[in-house]
């Protein structure tokens, strides 16, 4: 009897256990079925092709574009270097270096300027009364969702030779002939600042919205002046927003294609334009692939730094 009881008990225990395992397995199948279509599309048209680019970067360029299937490191070599046609000596590829430098320099400058303009703007929105705050936020969101090309076009109309800035300056007699603003690094910088600024303001606002103003009050009570409160209290508190905004501006700036093409013209290329050139007139797909992988690597490095920073400011944060 005691034995059968034990057996029964065992059976009774085993049955729900088996049921739970069966349920778990079914849940897994459902989950997989739900995820499969999204992951399939992403693998097919976003992630998988990246591996082809990696492979292509190690092949030989075909004569009319495309590749020949023989392995070569030439594509990677030519990202930074070139061989002299006469004496085979190896030099830095100056054109590529200057484009790389321009990309990093302009993206960095865009990020810093966006922070200088975006910080006060986000703070302004965050300190509005609850009701009007949404309206201000909406005003920032609209340019964010309107076509980047149209916004670039709009900024072009302002800075071109016959544009608004020159027209006003001429009218007031401040200049004798139109300033050449288009097709300069400055034009690209202004354009990128203009199109990516909302990406700085939105995350900054998100962290300022949660700002505890009692801490700022405490700062004033302890005889801090406005600047000290800003530097010692506000900035440390909204640091996650600063980091997020900077990364959100820096990354698309680095890979920018439209803005430098429209505002920089053919001479002031950035990395994105150089890559496109290799697949267009340049007809050097392996070099283009190696450049793409370089850009991707820089972006991933920036993201890693961000993850590090974000983790750090999470643990050492204000709690």
């Amino acid at each position: 009897m005691s034995l059968s009881h034990a057996a029964l008990g065992e059976l009774g225990d085993a049955k729900p256990a088996a049921g739970a395992a069966e349920l778990e397995r079914r849940a897994m199948r459902v989950r997989f079925g739900l995820l499969a279509p999204a992951l399939a599309i992403l693998l097919f048209a976003a992630i998988g092709p990246l591996f082809i680019v990696l492979v292509y970067s190690f092949l030989t360029p075909g004569p009319y574009g495309g590749v020949l299937w023989s392995p070569s490191l030439e594509g990677w070599f030519r990202v930074l270097f070139q061989r002299d046609i006469f004496d085979d000596s190896i030099n830095f590829q100056d054109a590529h270096l200057s484009i790389l430098w321009r990309s990093v320099k302009l993206s960095g400058a865009t990020t810093i300027l966006a922070l200088i303009v975006g910080f006060p703007t986000a703070y302004f929105i965050a300190t509005r009364p609850e009701r009007s705050r949404n309206a201000w936020l909406f005003l920032i969101t609209i340019p964010f969702w309107t076509n980047l090309l149209i916004r670039t076009f709009a900024i072009q109309e302002v800075i071109r030779n016959e544009g608004l800035i020159n027209a006003v300056l001429l009218k007031f007699g401040l200049i004798a002939r139109p300033l050449q603003l288009m097709f300069t690094d400055g034009a690209i910088l202004a354009g990128m600042l203009y199109v990516y600024l909302p990406l700085m303001v939105l995350p900054l606002y998100a962290s300022m919205e949660k700002l505890d103003f009692r801490l700022i009050e405490a700062g004033y009570d302890l005889y801090a002046n406005r600047f000290q409160v800003l530097r010692r209290v506000i900035i440390p508190l909204v640091k996650p927003g600063i980091i997020a905004g900077s990364i959100l501006v820096f990354i698309p700036s680095l890979g920018a294609y439209v803005t430098p093409r429209v505002l920089g013209g053919g001479k002031n290329m950035m990395l994105g334009n150089l890559i496109e050139l290799q697949f267009g007139q340049g007809r050097n797909w392996p070099l283009g692939s190696a450049l793409s992988m370089t850009l991707l690597a820089i972006v991933m490095a920036a993201l890693l730094v961000y993850v590090r920073f974000a983790a750090k400011s999470d643990t050492s944060g204000h709690g």
């Binding site: 999204a38 976003a46 990246l50 076509n147």
Partner: protein
């Protein structure tokens, strides 16, 4: 706290920072001034985009009569519609599989995959698709719109996924439990309870995906075959030519559509929170 500062004569507020309001107002003006100029000159009677010659609808008529622009606009709308519906459908399914569950193995990898299009620079994705689709084109001989629709669906997925996931996470589980208690099958619970509750998130996702697809320049420019211009790539091609206010008119219509969609999205989103 609001002690009066004798020196400034203004009430002291702990929230104020010197110069911030000025910069913010200048920032808003700078954001809108170029767009406003663009819109104003679309109504210019003259051929210049700098000298004002009086009001007219002339360039809207000419834009409407421009077959290339109209074709491109139609193509944009077709691609965006397909991409938005496809991306939102698969994103909804993915959101159901990644929310309201205990963390499981591979969940982080799934998140990473869904967010890939947000991290990889567009030019890199564009180049990758150019190579990959060129292979398929050679192999199959097909060179239709499906390539663009596939590319757009893929990069729209994270944008559709975000609002749907947010909606799911803020949803109350008790109604679904009650349905299950009343012997509803999982499918019935989903159709009658989950889906109606999720609907605002899905609409927001579809609209975001639609706007994102409509706006894309870089990937489309690299993936498109001959004669497959969308409105943005058509416009990009026109920058090299002499510009007339017709471009302003096209841009203004485009802007109006985007702003309308974003406005609806904004209010849908706000009602939720």
């Amino acid at each position: 706290m609001a002690e009066a500062h004798a020196s400034t004569g203004r009430a002291f507020s702990v929230r104020r920072q010197t110069g911030f309001t000025t910069i913010a107002i200048l920032c808003f003006i700078t954001l809108y001034l170029p767009i406003a100029t663009l819109v104003v000159y679309s109504f210019n009677a003259g051929v210049s985009i700098a000298i004002w010659d009086g009001f007219s609808w002339r360039w809207y008529h000419s834009a409407w009569a421009n077959d290339q622009a109209r074709d491109a606009a139609t193509r944009s709308l077709v691609i965006a519609s397909f991409a938005a519906v496809i991306a939102t459908t698969v994103a909804t399914m993915a959101a159901l599989a990644t929310t309201r569950t205990r963390p499981y193995r591979g969940l982080t990898a799934v998140y990473a995959m869904i967010n890939t299009p947000l991290m990889v620079p567009e030019i890199v994705t564009g180049v990758a698709l150019l190579i990959f689709f060129a292979m398929i084109k050679v192999a199959t001989g097909y060179s239709g719109l499906a390539y663009l629709i596939a590319a757009h669906s893929a990069f729209c997925i994270p944008f559709a996924y975000l609002p749907i996931r947010a909606r799911l996470e803020s949803m109350d589980l008790s109604l679904e439990r009650a349905a299950a208690d009343l012997y509803a099958t999982p499918w019935m619970t989903f159709r009658r309870i989950t889906l109606p509750l999720l609907w605002p998130g899905i609409i927001a996702g579809i609209m975001l995906a639609f706007v994102i697809s409509l706006d894309d320049v870089v990937i489309t420019e690299l993936v498109k075959s001959g004669g497959q211009d969308t409105l943005p790539t058509y416009m990009l091609g026109q920058f090299r030519r002499v510009m007339t206010p017709e471009m302003n008119a096209i841009s203004t219509v485009f802007l109006a559509i985007s702003i309308a969609l974003v406005t609806v999205f904004f209010f849908l989103n706000r009602r939720r929170t």
